[in-house]
Amino acid sequence: MHVNLDARRYRTKAAIFSALFIGLGQLYNRQYVKGFLWMVVAQLFFWTYYPIAYKGITGLITLGDVPSRIIKGKVVQGDHSIFLLINGLITVVIILLFLGVYIMNIVDAKKNGEIRDEGGQVLGFIASLKRAKFRNFPYLLLLPATFFVLFVTVMPLVFNVLIAFTNYSAPDHIPDRSLVDWIGFASFYDLFTQEAWRSTFVGIAVWNIIWATVSTISVFLSGLILAMMVNHPRVKFKKFWRTAFILPWAVPQFISILVFRVLLNGSFGPINDLIVKLGFSPVPWLSDPTMAKVSIILVNLWFSTPFLMALMSGVLTTMPRDLYEAAEVDGASWRQKFSKITLPLVLLATAPILIMQFAFNFNNFNLIYLLTDGNPNQPDYFYAGSTDILISWIFKMTLNQSQFNMASAVSIIMFILIAGFSLWNYKRMKSNQEEDWV
C-alpha cells in the first residue's frame, strides 16, 4: 500500500499544480518550454479577456439599464439589449472554451506525471508537439465544421430559446429605442392563458397535425397504388408511364406551387374559367377556409406522389414471390393479399421515409406560404390566417409583426415536439440498425 501511494505522487502533484496555476504542473514535470508557453498564453488571455468577459456577463444578466433618451434635444444612445445578449452569449462560449483548455492542461499534467510515476521519460517539447499533431488530426479535420455548426446552428438555437424569456416585441420593447428585459415564463403563460393567443395556437397546431398526417398517409397510399398499377403484369409501356408520372417530382417544387396558385385563382384562374364555361359555379379553391385546406392537400398529392411511386416500385420488385404463390394456393383473395402481404412489407421497408416525410410536411413552409400565404383571413387569429401552420405563423410574427418573444416561445414548443419525435425515431432506428453504431 505504501509503495502504491508513493508511486502515484507525481501524477497527483502535477495535476494539483496545474489546477492551481495553468502550466505549473508541466513545469513540475520538467517540461519547461511547454509549461512556460502554457503559462504565458493563459495569463495573457486571462488578463486581457477578464474585463471583456465581465462586461459581457453583466450585459447578459441585465440586458442594459440605460435606455435611449433625449437630452437637450439630442438623442443619446442607450444600451442595445439584443447586442448585449449576443455578446453575452459569445462570451459564455469563449469562457466554456477556456474552461476546456484549463481541464486539458490538468489532464496533460496528470498524464505526464503518470509517465514519471512509472519511471518513464517525459517527451521533449518538439516531440510532444509532433505527437499532438498526430493524435489530434481528426479534431483538426472537425474544427471548421464544429465552428460552423456552433455559430450557424447551435448559437441561433440557444439565442432563440433565450429570446422566449424576454419581452423582445413590438411596439414597446424594440432596441435601440427601448430596453428589453428578462420576463421568465410570461410569454408561455400568455400563450396558454390569453384567449386570443391560445385559440390561435391551438387552432393552428391542430390543423398542422391534421395536415402532416393526412398528407403523409394520402401520399403513401396514392404512391403505393400507382406503383402497383404500373407494375401490373398486363400493363404495357411501363417505362413510358413511369417516366410520365415521375415528371412532377423533377419540376422544382416552388414553381409547381406558384403555378397552382395561378391555376387555382378564384377570379381569373384557368381552372375556374373552365368550370364556369362547362356551366358549373366557380369553386372557391383558395378563398374558402375548408376548400383551401383541401386544395393544399391535393396540390401536395400532385407533386409528392411521384417520389413515393418510384420508391414503391423498387420495393415491390423485391417482394418475395413465393409468399404470393403460397397465398394463392390457400385461395387468398386480392384484397387479402394486399392487406396481409403487400401493405405490411411495404410499410416495413418505407417506414423511415414516411417518418421523414411526416417531419418534412409538418414544417412544409413553402407549400403553405407560396400557395395561400396562410390565407384566407381568420379574424379570430393573432397574426395568422386559417391555413397557416406553426412555422409560417412564426415567420409572420418575426418578419411582419416583430413579435420575437412569442415567435420563439412557439418555436420552443415545436423544438420539444420535434425532439421527442426524433428521439423516438432514433430509438426505433437504433434497434433496427445496431451495427451502424460501432
Binding site: 439584443i82 471548421p144 465544421a145 410520365a244
Partner: protein
C-alpha cells in the same frame, strides 16, 4: 369469367392512367402555352396559341431583374456547393476513419441537429444577421446554407465512406502514404457518387429554397430566383402572370432535365440518407 375480370382491371388501370396523365401534364403545358402566348392576360390566353411568340421571354430578360436574380442564385449555389462539399467531406472522413474521444457524441449531435432544420430558428437567424450586419447579404445566406448542409450531408457521406474497405488504405499506408494521400487517391475517387450527391444537392438548394432567402435577402437586387418569381405572382393583379410563366419555364426546364437525368441516382441518394437518419 376470371379472364373478363382481369381485362376489366387492365382497362380500368389504363383509364386511371389517362386521367392522371392529363392532371400531370396539364399544369406544365399550361405554363409553356401561357409563356408563348402573345396576349397579356390569362383569360384570353390559350393552351396552344395560334401564333406563338417569345415576347414574354424578351420582356422578362429586358424589363425585369430576372438575369440579376439568376446571377445571384448561381453565385450562391456555386459558393454553397463548393464550401459544403469540402466541409462535409472533411467531417465525414474524420468520423468514418478515425476513432477518437467524443466521436459517438459528435455523430449523435449531428443527427439531432439534422432534426432541427435551420429555418426553425428563423427568428434567431433574422435577429443575429441583423445585428451582425449580414442581413441582406449573400454571404449571410451562404453561411447559413453551409452550416445546415453539414448536419444533412455528413451522415450520407460517412455512410458511403464506411463501405470502402480499410484494407485499401492500410496497404497504402504501408507503402508510405500519408492521410492526405489516402484521402485524395483512394477515398475521393471511390466515393464520387456520394460527393456528387452532396455537391448537387447544395447546388440546387438555393434554386429551390424560398424561406431562407426570404428572411435574409430584403432588397430586390439581392433576391434569388425563387423570391423574384414569387414577387411576380404575389400581388393579385394579373398583368405579370404571363411574364412569370416565361420565368417559370426558364427556371424549371434545366432543373427538370437535370432531375430526370439523375433520377435513379437522386432517389437512391435520398433513401440512403433516410436509412441513416
Amino acid at each position: 369469367m376470371s379472364k373478363l375480370k382481369s381485362n376489366l382491371v387492365v382497362i380500368g388501370i389504363y383509364m386511371v392512367f389517362i386521367v392522371l396523365l392529363i392532371t400531370t401534364i396539364y399544369p406544365m403545358i399550361w405554363v409553356v402555352g401561357t409563356s408563348l402566348n402573345p396576349g397579356n392576360t390569362l383569360l384570353v390566353s390559350k393552351m396552344f396559341p395560334d401564333n406563338p411568340s417569345l415576347l414574354h421571354y424578351v420582356e422578362l430578360i429586358r424589363n425585369t431583374d430576372f438575369m440579376l436574380w439568376f446571377g445571384n442564385t448561381l453565385k450562391i449555389a456555386v459558393a454553397n456547393a463548393f464550401l459544403s462539399t469540402i466541409l462535409v467531406a472533411m467531417t465525414a472522413y474524420a468520423f468514418s476513419r478515425f476513432r477518437f474521444k467524443g466521436r459517438q457524441q459528435g455523430l449523435m449531435t449531428l443527427l439531432v441537429l439534422q432534426m432541427f432544420p435551420g429555418f426553425l430558428s428563423i427568428m434567431a437567424i433574422f435577429v443575429l444577421l441583423l445585428q451582425t450586419k449580414l442581413l441582406d447579404t449573400h454571404l449571410g445566406l451562404i453561411l447559413i446554407y453551409v452550416g445546415g448542409s453539414i448536419s444533412m450531408g455528413t451522415w450520407v457521406m460517412k455512410g458511403h465512406f464506411d463501405t470502402i474497405p480499410r484494407s485499401l488504405e492500410e496497404a497504402a499506408f504501408i507503402d508510405g502514404a500519408s492521410n492526405k494521400d489516402a484521402f485524395f487517391r483512394i477515398i475521393l475517387p471511390l466515393s464520387l457518387p456520394s460527393i456528387t450527391f452532396v455537391a448537387l444537392n447544395s447546388f440546387i438548394t438555393p434554386f429551390m429554397d424560398f424561406i431562407l432567402p426570404q428572411i435574409v435577402l430584403r432588397s430586390s437586387e439581392k433576391m434569388t430566383l425563387a423570391q423574384g418569381l414569387y414577387s411576380m405572382v404575389a400581388n393579385e393583379t394579373n398583368s405579370s402572370f404571363t411574364v412569370f410563366a416565361a420565368g417559370a419555364v426558364l427556371v424549371a426546364l434545366p432543373i427538370t432535365l437535370l432531375y430526370m437525368y439523375f433520377q435513379k441516382y437522386l432517389i437512391h441518394g435520398m433513401t440512403a440518407g433516410a436509412d441513416k437518419g
